[in-house]
Subunit: 411 residues, 2 copies
């Protein structure tokens, strides 16, 4: 294989280096460059300081085949990128009537005149060509086919790259990628079970990405043609899965809700939810999936004991004897949802999400999930953390993973 072409990503904005926002642009741009066959040698984030931008851009051009810059093309005072790029590329700007017409139509659709501060968008550097920005007013700029300057607004970045990226950034090689989603073992546990990890590493780059309660495995294979890269990817995947097959629940863009949705749709089964500590989070996850109306019938958010009794038919006796946070009440809630919505499965969660509300017997992080189905009820006790958002997120995952386990067994 020839030399891999390199790319540099520069993200500009005080909001990044002062920790105001998470830099999702860097993420999307890196993905895009990987898919175009580049090796990103570095991502550099700097503030809205002319000297820092100038030196980062010069260094990037010296060290990389392609440079993508994001941020600093909007109307506010902190947007200075275009000026500096003109300095670096030793050029002036020139008014573009066609770009101006686009800007006019952009604001016309919104029922307003072009704000004074936005007229400058039509001033295009003479060493650059304008690249359309369908959801925004400021065009992207491609300098000498080597440097692409994008606006800083994340959904504009995504859409420009998706629609015009392939046209403006030449392909440099082929990569094939695979992410394997696992749950049930930590990073070290997976390594212990894997029997052919070293063989996989000889063929492709392998990364372990631990997440809360689960681990993703990522394969990146490179080749001079798409079939060559794909062939390596498939081989590496086979090796990587040896010994951990039963822990795998999905691939690539799969989420636990999309996998479960697929299994439900395929089996022609339906589900309803009964949620206490997750407050609607399980239903929200299930309905994230387009087409979920085919298998999701609805749910009850029973945040109070009263709602658990009135809406889900949980008996006052159970609530008194075991408390709302118990395996017994979780099971009754799941059965209640199944009955009420006349669904094949009922899925429930009840627990102490925290950070307050725990007792010695029932500490924060103690949560029960249950699944009622045609074969009866299965339930699970979770002992999680002291953090409310972590506990809620993990409970939603674990509940859907419980449904996944049952649906997979039945196949």
């Amino acid at each position: 294989m020839g030399k891999i072409k390199t790319a540099r990503v520069i993200t500009i904005g005080d909001e990044i280096i002062t920790g105001k926002i998470v830099d999702t642009n860097a993420f999307h741009i890196s993905r895009f460059l990987l898919n175009r066959g580049y090796r990103v040698n570095s991502i550099v984030s700097i503030g809205d300081i002319p000297s820092a931008i100038r030196s980062a851009v010069r260094k990037a051009l010296a060290e990389s085949d392609i440079v993508i810059v994001t941020g600093g093309l909007g109307p506010t005072h902190d947007d200075i990128t275009k000026k500096i790029l003109c300095e670096v590329f030793k050029c002036k700007t020139c008014f573009s009537p066609s770009v101006y017409r686009y800007i006019e139509s952009y604001f016309k659709k919104r029922g307003v005149a072009v704000p004074d501060v936005c007229r400058d968008y039509a001033e295009i550097p003479t060493e650059a060509t304008a690249v359309k920005n369908p959801p925004g007013a400021a065009p992207a700029l491609l300098f000498q086919k080597r440097l692409l300057a994008l606006p800083g607004v994340p959904h504009e970045v995504s859409e420009i790259l998706e629609k015009y990226g392939n046209r403006v950034i030449p392909r440099a090689g082929f990569t094939a990628e695979r992410t394997i989603h696992t749950a049930g073992a930590g990073e070290a546990g997976l390594m212990r079970r894997m029997t052919s990890l070293d063989a996989a590493r000889e063929i492709a780059d392998i990364a372990f990405l631990p997440k809360r309660g689960r681990v993703d495995l990522r394969i990146i294979a490179r080749g001079e043609t798409a079939p060559a890269a794909n062939g390596k990817r498939r081989k590496a995947e086979k090796f990587l899965k040896e010994g951990i097959e039963e822990l795998v629940w999905g691939y690539d863009g799969d989420s636990i809700e999309s996998v479960v949705g697929g299994l439900l749709a395929k089996a022609g089964k339906t589900v309803a939810v009964a949620e206490s500590c997750t407050g609607g989070g399980i239903g929200s996850a299930i309905t994230d999936i387009s087409g979920s109306s085919n298998y999701f019938l609805g749910g009850i958010i029973a945040y109070s004991n009263r709602a658990k009794q009135a809406e889900l038919g949980v008996s006052p006796y159970l609530l008194r004897k075991h408390g709302a946070v118990s395996r017994e009440v979780a099971s009754a809630m799941a059965e209640g949802a199944r009955k009420k919505f006349n669904s094949d499965y009922g899925l429930s969660a009840t627990g102490i999400a925290g950070p307050t509300g725990g007792t010695k017997e029932k500490p924060v992080g103690l949560i029960y999930i249950a699944l009622a189905g045609p074969e009866g009820v299965s339930s699970k006790e979770l002992k999680l953390t002291r953090s409310r958002p972590i506990n809620r997120e993990r409970t939603v995952f674990q509940a859907l993973h419980l449904l996944h386990t049952v649906l997979k067994e039945k196949r």
Copy 2:
């Protein structure tokens, strides 16, 4: 004011530069450094390549007062940071019995022996001191009081910085920060309304951070003492808000659900939800807030027409005449939830989240939200995008913002 001390952040990991993950560590570390009074001159992300790590670390030490590195301290093959830092600081490692005892206790709590690959965690570079990592096994390392090497796992990074960051990174100055959350105008619209933006800019750094359907304004003021920084921050805030007071709904860590929760708790009022296209998202947002059980009574996820009738009492006539996606049905759903849970307010959403399911009369992105309360029902038509996740997120925000508007008027 004296010279502001600088800091560099280096995040290491193929998963970052290949666009596998969003680099939240860079975000948390930058925030931490800002709060300690540093100006972050750059964030550099690189892959697991020894030469790239070596040169980034050397450059960082030459150009910055403090360096924080994250990633590459774990057990897997791609973790090479410690070795390279030893090279740069010209030192060896030495086995630390006390660190090893901690590692043993870490794995003992999890019921397993120390994995072979994890023994190396106890090898501490002679130019570094180990810093405790409460949620993880690998300690952080502080080299010559100038470079802090952290593991790559996000929640470990947060916890180490929170518990020990102030002890290991000296304070370099004071900053005062304020974020103002607005909704109802875009970036250009806000600028048009603001009467004293320039005055605010003279005192502090001001950034506009547009989000979907709303804009955050951020102030950073610096001073040699905390009161000096705070004084500037307050002045800048006063100027910044002139002309846009009625668009402000919160500050700093506020979310619309926390602000609405605070208003409900203060007024002693309760709310229940009736959700179709959001599938539990509004309830999930409300119950993100600890203590929400004081004002959130529960909800119905009515994804089907049948559930809208059976659980919320929406009349078949309304559904036939106007369709499930209509102002009338949204209003009936809100009233239904209010009645069923006997709450002060009922909040609903129904619409076509997309990406499929639209018609010419009712396109994807057409969504109705409604609020039923003691004074009657108010409702709102939203015309959003073709993207399902964006539509759902914005609908949750808009529904809570509708409740916010009504609660604020009543104060």
